[in-house]
């Protein structure tokens, strides 16, 4: 046991990684994807109503191979990613301190909570017209809208996280002689991290939803616009390429958050 201890602390455990990559879960995932593709291709070839109207995987793959060598396709990725991450990061920068302060200071919470609760139900997309008007550049309005997507989820999750901290942790820390600063950095912050990452993961999902819709309405670039443009031009396989690209982009972003989360909250990984 003792010799085993430090090995776990090294972070990335090779045996575990190998198991994760070559394990049963991976095989099952791959099989599921292949079966879905075959089913989809068959539906398209047999002209099954509704489902058969979607361009077949083979034609989507052909469009995709073409697009892979076009700079404009990759630019769409970059543009959308930039919007998502800028909005998301600003949401973190403002949302984390706000949520923490709301959790710890009652007066501040009483003052700010009603405002947040009134603004929160407004769908980020409803902000698009106003955002376009009051932000100097269209790009800034896009980022603002994605920011809104992540912001409220972040704040509410962090607020909930702080308020749910077991009072015994704080009491124990007080008894042991912690200063206010210690209690914040060594008790409240780590205790809130799990809900912070839940908020981030959900928030990241919402930013992708928002950015794609916003690009369709108010932009001339990005993966959302690529999809919309192909629809307008009647280039159906590219619509599917756009959709799948958005799916993959969202998945990559969430994976990144999950990875950061598991690195920063190692105590949640059970044995």
């Amino acid at each position: 046991m003792a010799s085993n201890g430090p090995n776990i602390l090294k972070g990335v455990n090779l045996t575990k990684l190998r198991k994760a990559v070559f394990g049963k879960t991976t095989y099952r995932g791959i099989i599921a994807i292949i079966v879905t593709l075959i089913f989809w291709e068959a539906c398209a070839r047999l002209k099954v109503p509704v489902i058969g109207m979607i361009p077949a995987p083979s034609s989507v793959a052909r469009s995709l191979t073409g697009l892979l060598f076009e700079a404009s396709y990759w630019e769409s990725w970059v543009v959308s990613f930039k919007r998502v991450f800028l909005g998301f990061i600003v949401a973190q920068i403002i949302g984390i301190p706000l949520g923490l302060t709301m959790g710890m200071r009652r007066t501040f919470r009483d003052l700010s909570f009603p405002i947040i609760e009134i603004l929160r139900p407004i769908p980020p997309l409803a902000w698009v017209p106003t955002a376009v008007i009051f932000w100097p550049t269209p790009e800034m309005s896009m980022i603002f809208v994605t920011f809104l997507g992540a912001f409220f989820t972040m704040v509410l999750n962090i607020l909930g996280g702080v308020r749910n901290i077991d009072i015994r942790y704080i009491r124990a820390a007080e008894s042991l002689g912690s200063s206010k600063k210690d209690i914040f950095w060594r008790i409240i912050l780590p205790a809130t991290l799990p809900s912070l990452f839940v908020g981030s993961t959900v928030g990241m999902g919402i930013t992708w939803e928002v950015v794609v819709a916003a690009e369709m309405i108010a932009s001339r670039s990005g993966l959302g616009f690529l999809t919309w443009k192909s629809y307008v031009a009647g280039n159906y396989p590219v619509i599917v390429v756009g959709m799948i690209s958005i799916g993959i982009a969202g998945y990559l972003s969430s994976s990144l958050i999950r990875f950061l989360g598991s690195r920063l909250t190692p105590w949640l990984k059970i044995i």
Binding site: I8, R171, A172, S175, G177, R186, P190, A191, L193, I270
Partner: protein, 284 residues
């Protein structure tokens, strides 16, 4: 020797108006320096509230609590609490939990603290688990870790709030042994709160039996079993006599609560009864 606590006619109630609930009323007793005082009473009789007051997490409505003559106003490292369910910090390893107190106060150098921590970990059989997180420890290990997280700070008074509650019988016995061995070694003033009579008598120098709400000492018994203690004493004649005396009083208290007739009291009674029923039967 220090660590003498005097509790003088304290009262505490919660809520206002018709919802006001008096939990503790005119309660006086003391914790003798270097003695293990056990406080026993049915669940819900206000024992945890009492601990919160002694620890300084909450303030009394009236009366006074002093330690070595100085009034208790806020939490402090000279009075440490081991909570009902383990309150180890989940985001720190066992080792980090144990060293937290001394390091955060910065009164000793890191090497020294780490050496002391290792020694205590070894003493309670946790040396191999020092890099594990609390979630990876069993219930008994968590309580032991919490015990030494408090002990490393050399408090004047240790307060144990039903620390072994929820452990299975075997682990509980083991914990009692660890605990009593540590106590007999360091002889700090200890307050141990429990609702289990066997545990109470086995550990105690002094046994305070609480009356039901509002809580105040109903009876203070001196338990003069020799130390060091072991489980063989559970069959000795003195032990059985102490237990019968205590049971009588506890039973009276439970009946009183039952007669009072409120819903809460009936629940308390049932709990109190189930906590003492088993030894009562074996006595006959």
């Amino acid at each position: 020797m220090s660590g003498q606590m005097e509790i003088t006619s304290i009262s505490k109630s919660f809520g206002v108006g018709p919802l006001k609930q008096v939990v503790i009323e005119d309660c006086s007793f003391n914790l003798e320096s270097g003695k293990l005082t056990v406080l026993i009473g049915p669940s819900g009789c206000g024992k945890t509230t009492l601990i919160n007051l002694l620890a300084g997490y909450d303030t009394v409505d009236s009366g006074q609590i002093t330690i070595d003559g100085k009034p208790v106003k806020s939490p402090g490292r000279e009075r440490l609490v081991v909570f009902q369910e383990a309150a180890l910090f989940p985001w720190m390893t066992t080792f980090e939990n144990v060293t937290y107190g001394p390091l955060v106060r910065g009164e000793k150098n890191k090497k020294e603290v780490e050496r002391e921590a290792m020694e205590l970990l070894r003493k309670v059989g946790l040396a191999d688990f020092k890099n594990k997180y609390p979630i990876q420890l069993s219930g008994g290990m968590q309580r032991r870790a919490e015990l030494i997280r408090a002990l490393i700070n050399t408090p004047k008074v240790m307060m144990m709030d039903e620390p072994f509650r929820g452990l299975d019988a075997m682990t509980r016995e083991l914990m009692q042994e660890y605990y009593i061995r540590l106590f007999e070694e360091n002889r700090l003033t200890n307050l141990f709160v429990t609702s289990e009579l066997e545990e109470a008598i086995f550990l105690a120098d002094r046994l305070i039996i609480m009356s039901n709400k509002p809580a105040k000492p109903r009876e203070i018994m001196q338990i003069e079993l020799p130390r060091p203690r072991d489980f063989k004493m559970l069959t000795s004649r003195e032990y059985v006599r102490y237990k019968q005396d205590a049971l009588e009083i506890l039973h009276e208290e439970a009946m009183k609560a039952f007669a009072a007739g409120s819903k809460a009291s009936v629940a308390d009674f049932l709990e109190a009864y189930s906590a003492t029923k088993e030894p009562a039967e074996t006595d006959k």
